[in-house]
């Protein structure tokens, strides 16, 4: 028996073609079809070895999420393995590659279990020291421990790292703990137990009822009640139904779905299985954006393992329920996150949204009733069914239950994925978990919900984060991107950034979105160049209103939100750009003028040498000057000047 997924002995004859009802229980607790204490022991030994609470064996967990891989974690795994072999420790110390820990900025992350030691930014040259000092010597490598940016104290275990301490990781729990390429490790973490329970003991209606009781709402944007969506699809007429996982996480600034797929793909598969059973679907698709090659790879592995173990395919767990799952890779179009566009894309067409009604629940993929949920929503489902709705309801607020994963990025000390109960305040997320603003800057706003969301200013930071409170102030949870902006961020520029994005990603089908976002962008561009006109703001508002009310799909309808929200809370900034032709945040480069202060300048010439466009002139005898006509406002001269002689105005 190599892993939990393998049979214990010859008596076990579970295969995909001869499925057993109690397969999952059998794999975790020991054989049920025959009584053999040895077999039972084998399984328990295996579990003990994997998750050893007493710490008899040490484990080195190395993150292989996209973030840490790009910081070099693959090389670390090789080095650790070599080092362990060299010291004859390879039998006693396990090395595991895991999914994303969410704290990508500190990557590559190495964790030593069972001590929970949390090493950050580990370089290949650190490996020998970690093995020698920690694994062999039993001491910590202090310089690699995470240091709190506020207190300056180092955290020995990840539990004491503020970033993790205040989180409530349910969906992300397996990410960073298990090897996502091993189904057995998912099983050891109670994986597929919810599916077994559902197939053995629950009717489809009861599953929907449980999800209703849990109050699960869609994590992809608008927060539509999941049970209602399932129920509509279940009740729709049709002999063939589909379920789809929307993994087209296109929001620039959100990456929780990628992390879940990379770190815990089986949870999504299990969620889809349960949903398909409840709805009466026997076929499903995961539509994953092509920009996530690792997520697609891990999903492929997970699907093939689930198929081999009879958890996907025909007569799953001998229940008579069939479900086949396929992956469709997107081809680069943000609009395909919209349900009807996503369906068009799976059908091999241009990803242009269709008018609703009819809704996908009645007429979706190939005209058949179809249910679409996003990655995070599907990943919530096994937890609800395994632990019950009552358990789930203890997290969150009365109307927004459970937890939500946010991608905390921008000008904040700790960037990464955070999972928190709904209803927590933004202040807690940004200042407690995120460790506050980077450098000597002050908080200005938080952009939430990506291109469909809005900006929330300082005075609203105590607002509870849930579906309803946010929409009241002109923002939305959206996919859960939280981009922290500080005093060096210009709000007009941010609005322009999002409009550039939506404009580029507009499918071009309907007039208001295709033509309207272009005109809004042109107006915003003018303002950031100091060419704004007094009537511009009114025009922006009119256009925004019409685009919101008349666009064909949700993406068009929400595309003016970043402009409307910034206008609502930072109108003054727009007015300064228009009236005084200046950018208070010094971010709109076209409005910046670089000057060299003659008194401070030592005529060293470093600025001129480094200027990429060669627009600084001068020499030992003549004072240096910047030719503002050719200056590209790249800031290089300021960075290079040791005497702080160059200023921006």
């Amino acid at each position: 028996m190599q892993t939990l997924a393998y049979p214990c002995c010859e008596k076990c004859n579970h295969t995909a073609s001869t499925p057993c009802r109690d397969y999952i229980k059998c794999r975790v607790e020991g054989p049920l079809c025959h009584d053999d204490p040895d077999c039972k022991q084998k399984r328990q030994d295996f579990l003990a070895k994997m998750y050893d609470p007493e710490g008899l064996t040490k484990q080195i967990l190395i993150c292989t999420g996209t973030g840490c891989v790009s910081s070099g974690s693959q090389r670390l795994i090789e080095l650790v393995r070599e080092e362990l072999v060299k010291r004859n420790l390879d039998e006693t110390v396990r090395v595991r590659s895991t999914g994303c820990h969410g704290f990508c900025e500190q990557g590559p992350i190495v964790i030593i279990e069972p001590d929970k030691t949390f090493y950050t930014k580990v370089k290949p040259s650190d490996i020998t020291e970690i093995i020698e000092t920690d694994i062999v010597g039993g001491n910590k490598v202090d310089r690699l421990l995470y240091r709190d940016p506020v207190s300056g104290e180092s955290a020995v275990t990840y539990e004491t790292v503020n970033f993790y301490a205040k989180q409530n990781r349910i969906i992300l729990n397996n990410c960073g703990q298990i090897n996502p390429e091993r189904i057995s490790q998912y099983m050891a973490k109670k994986g597929y137990q919810a599916l077994e329970k559902v197939l053995q003991t629950m009717k489809p209606e009861e599953v929907i009822e449980e999800v209703k009781k849990a109050g699960l709402r869609g994590r992809g944007g608008a927060g539509f009640p999941t049970w209602l969506k399932w129920n509509l699809c279940r009740k729709a007429q049709g002999d063939k139904k589909y379920v789809i996982c929307n993994a087209d996480e296109g929001d620039p600034g959100a990456f929780m779905d990628r992390s879940v797929l990379e770190g815990d793909p089986h949870a999504v598969i299990e969620g889809m299985l349960i949903g398909a059973y409840a709805i009466g679907a026997d076929e499903g698709y995961v539509y994953c954006r092509a920009e996530y090659p690792l997520a697609i790879e891990r999903l492929k592995i997970a699907i093939s393992q689930a198929e081999k173990n009879g958890l996907l395919g025909k007569n799953i767990l001998n229940s008579g329920f069939n479900f086949h799952l396929k992956i469709k890779a997107g081809a680069g179009a943000f609009v395909c996150g919209e349900e009807t566009a996503l369906i068009a894309s799976i059908e091999g067409k241009r990803g242009m949204p269709k008018v609703r009604p009819p809704y996908p629940a009645e007429k979706g993929l190939w005209g058949k009733p179809t249910n679409i949920n996003n990655v995070e929503t599907w990943a919530n489902v096994p937890h609800i069914l395994r632990n019950g709705a009552d358990w789930y309801c203890q997290f969150g607020t009365p109307k927004s239950k459970g937890t939500k994963i946010f991608a905390l990025t921008g000008k904040v000390n700790n960037t990464g994925l955070v999972e928190v109960p709904m209803g927590i305040s933004l202040r807690e997320i940004i200042f407690d978990i995120g460790g506050g603003i980077k450098g000597n800057h002050t908080f200005k706003a938080v952009q939430i919900g990506g291109p469909s969301g809005g900006c929330i200013p300082e005075e609203l930071l105590d607002l509870p984060v849930d579906f309803d409170s946010l929409s009241e102030v002109g923002a939305m949870i959206g996919s859960g991107g939280l981009v922290i902006l500080d005093d060096t961020t210009c709000m007009v520029d941010i609005a322009r950034f999002f409009l550039t994005f939506t404009q580029k990603e507009s499918c071009g089908k309907c007039t208001p979105c295709r033509e309207g976002t272009k005109r809004m962008l042109e107006i915003l561009t003018r303002i950031t160049k100091g060419e704004g006109k007094p009537e511009d703001l009114e025009n922006l508002e009119t256009l925004a209103g019409v685009i919101k009310k008349t666009s064909l799909c949700g993406l068009g309808q929400t595309s003016p939100n970043p402009v409307l929200a910034t206008l609502r809370y930072f109108r003054e900034e727009y007015e300064i750009h228009i009236r005084e032709k200046r950018c208070p945040a010094h971010a709109c480069t076209a409005l910046l003028q670089y000057h060299i202060d003659n008194e401070k300048c030592k005529r060293c010439g470093v600025c001129a040498k480094n200027c990429p466009v060669g627009c600084i002139f001068g020499d030992k005898n003549n004072p240096y000057e910047i030719d503002s006509q050719n200056c590209i406002q790249c800031h290089t001269c300021i960075d290079k000047c040791k005497f702080k002689a160059i200023t921006v105005s």
Binding site: C510, T511, E515
Partner: protein, 352 residues
Amino acid sequence: MQWIQLKIDDKKIRVPEKTTILEACRMNNILIPTLCHDPELTNWGACRLCVVEVEGMRNLVTSCTMEVQQGMVVRTSTPDIREARKTILELIVANHDIDCLTCEKMGECELSKYAYEYGVKKDVFQGAKREYELDDSNPFIIRDLNKCILCGKCVRACAEIQVNHVLDYSKRGFETQVGPAFHLPYGESDCVFCGSCLAVCPVGALTEKQMAGKGRPWEVKKIQTTCPFCGTGCNFDLNVRDNKVVGVTSNPGSPVNGRALCVKGRFGVEYIHSPNRLITPMIRKNGELVEAEWYEALELIAERFKTIKEQYGSDSLAALSSARCTNEENYLMQKFMRAVIGTNNVDHCART
């Protein structure tokens, strides 16, 4: 069939189920502007001009796609709706080549009709405009993408009426355009020049080359007629100005063909006023064809038929009729051959 009761602009209305709001309005003479809608094509819901307010819905809805429901309350002309429509028109106009003075569509242009109705000026939104070269590569259709409003009717007409699917959208967003694959000109594509796209284009993006400069819509008289090219019996309107046929336009009321026509029917009008056209029978005399009177020609034919029949027998004659003839004409032809000539030698060009 179930009947649906609803209220549109405070008026109680009863229509059959599955009717769209737009259809219900049009049945009751309530005007709704549309650019991408066409009763013969699939609903597309893209131009958003036909938006109306439905009580209980968060946003405005497109009346062309939304079906009526029992007890629905619809408003079609609130200030909100008019503002939305006006802005949409302003947006379209901002990216449309305002070349109305010489535009062939002037007078029949849907865009200018609605712009007039909603008081739309051309310079509200200024900025980037599409700039494409004129496609003048073929003898029939002039394609000016700078006037295209991307309503997609031509794409649907090509796919759904002609089932040729030469046209489709390409690129996306502001750069979206409509046309054959690889942005080829019509002349180099697989276009069969049925002109269905021409018949549905609401603006001057697709216009007929032969009719260019030959008269404004209000100057031509439309005379419905049956196409003489084959026996299908397609109807269309001859566009006549100063007693001269200047072109053909589809007549949506044609019972046989609707607006569909083939290249010959739509564009083959040149011969009508051609100097080379035969207008009297010709008889070869002394090796040369000379004009003759009808009675003279018919007499000659009758006489020669008789001689041949007497000399060589009935079966030495045969008749071949044409698909350009009607059923009745074809019937008469075979009757004549069998009863008068006495032979079964009849055939037809479309037999195989």
